[in-house]
């Protein structure tokens, strides 16, 4: 389990990590922990101890203190009892905290001089052979800049570039494409695609998983807004949700990729 420190242009990324469990029955570890920053560096992960955290406390880590680690927009924070080598070929597999109901989460997000926006999240490495389909109702209008952020981390450090295709979900017309990368936070400016208020953008990456966020920045700087969209499995509950997700993806991705107009 990792916690993402993210960077997107013009804002400061922050990560507030709390060393107390979300519930009173799953986690019992109380020892002082090392906090390691881990970021992709060629064919290896580079690591650096960025401090310690005591039980019952919280630590804030900000992007402006770690710019050299954020060339891909993403640096993973990993709490560890032990010490990591300076370079590792795979992400550590041992999670230090074991909670499931709910998951152990950090508060992560962005801020500027006047505002901040947060979400509660954690990050498990995503599979290499996967796809992304998401519908994005977060574009806002009037004095706002809209960005799509795609967060990806895999076990292996190499950075692989893929295409993300942007569609109007009703007409299935393709509005454009951009590049996204593994082990990165990819920022995509959305306003140039001129999605209208009644249109529901659909984004597809055929060969890469990711966690998509909508980020809104008011042009006066007074407010930021960020939330992630659900994967298609969240359109249903119970039963074979991931079977349903597979069917939904097959239907949408097949139809969307046919249409290159």
């Amino acid at each position: 389990m990792f916690f993402p420190l993210m960077y997107t242009e013009g804002l400061t990324g922050f990560l507030d990590l709390c060393y107390f469990p979300p519930n009173n029955w799953e986690n019992r570890i109380k020892k002082k922990l090392n906090l390691f920053a881990i970021w992709p560096d060629g064919d290896q992960w580079a690591t650096q101890n960025v401090g310690t955290i005591e039980y019952g406390q919280s630590r804030q880590i900000v992007s402006s203190d770690h710019q050299e680690k954020l060339k891909t927009g993403l640096c993973l924070i990993y709490p560890s009892l032990g010490i990591l080598k300076n370079h590792i070929s795979e992400l550590p597999k041992l999670p230090i905290w074991h909670t499931r109901i709910p998951e152990w989460r950090a508060t992560t997000g962005f801020r500027n001089a006047k505002a901040q926006t947060s979400y509660q999240g954690e990050l498990f490495p995503l599979p290499n052979n996967a796809s992304l389909l998401t519908f994005h109702p977060f574009i806002q209008y009037g004095g706002i800049e809209n960005r799509l952020l795609v967060l990806n981390a895999t076990t292996n450090p190499e950075i692989i570039e893929s295409d993300i295709f942007l569609y109007d979900s009703k007409s299935k017309n393709r509005r454009g494409s951009e590049k996204v990368r593994t082990n990165s936070l990819t920022t995509i400016a959305l306003d140039k695609y001129n999605f209208m208020p009644h249109e529901l953008p659909a984004f597809v990456i055929p060969n890469m998983a990711g966690i998509p966020f909508g980020l809104g920045i008011s042009l006066d700087g007074n407010m930021l807004s960020m939330e992630h969209t659900h994967p298609p499995a969240s359109l249903v509950l119970f039963g074979n949700r991931f079977g349903v997700q597979g069917e939904v993806k097959k239907k949408w991705i097949g139809k969307l990729l046919e249409n290159k107009k």
Binding site: G109, F138, L219, S225, L235, L237, R241
Partner: protein, 266 residues
Amino acid sequence: MNLQEFTRKAKYGVFIPKKVTRKPWNIGSVISDLFPLRTGDGWTTFFEILDIPGLLNGSFSDTSRHKILFVFFDQDGNEIGRKHFPSPTEPRYSLELSTSFFKEIDKACTFSVFHTNFEPLDNLGDSFLAERGYSGYKRNNMPIRGYVHGNLDSIAWHLGEMQMLGNAGILRRSYLVQHPFSGESKYELFLTNPCNQKVRIRVQVRSPKSSWKDFETFILNPRGCQKISIDVGENEVKFIRIVSRLYLGRPVIFRCNENSMDVFHG
């Protein structure tokens, strides 16, 4: 299985003996979260209406519209009223939840959204269609909305009947919000009760160097909602713990400053 994992599983059996979310009794039920509603006092709530059956089908129908039912509840969980709404012809519709949509909205504290009368879906299997929704909250002096998705799978709907899906047990459980409440800010936490019994809630607060102190205690009815307001001074940090019999007492959190706002789920 090592001893640590065995202990964790044994505790799991004690603290979470049933599922966090109950399965609806009736096949064909649809599910919704219980979304906090903020109207008046300089706030407006929007809900992003999406054609969920169309998303599941792989395309949006040009000819058939399904129905969307909004059900509004007051702070005590009493139903205030229902508003039927034909699914919009466009796949995204940002609905402003105001008196022009529902006259008695000023009395409401939460709402649920159920998609009904849609054409049969061939790919659902044993699954139930769910509205996990995106609510947009706007302070009226702010230029943009803060969005947050649904927080708890709360209510099933079937042929006019509602079933609460959350679970509560005998043991008290703590939910510690994994967020340092930092100032200078006014925090407002919205906590809902997704289960079918009254639940006593104790909210506790501590600073990084103090122990937990009771902050507020109240009884939450089924479908009820409570706003917990916490002021945090400049350079101050607080932590919040919610103690109840709820399996998951997780709030939606607003962090407000004089000129800005941040909303996120706990």
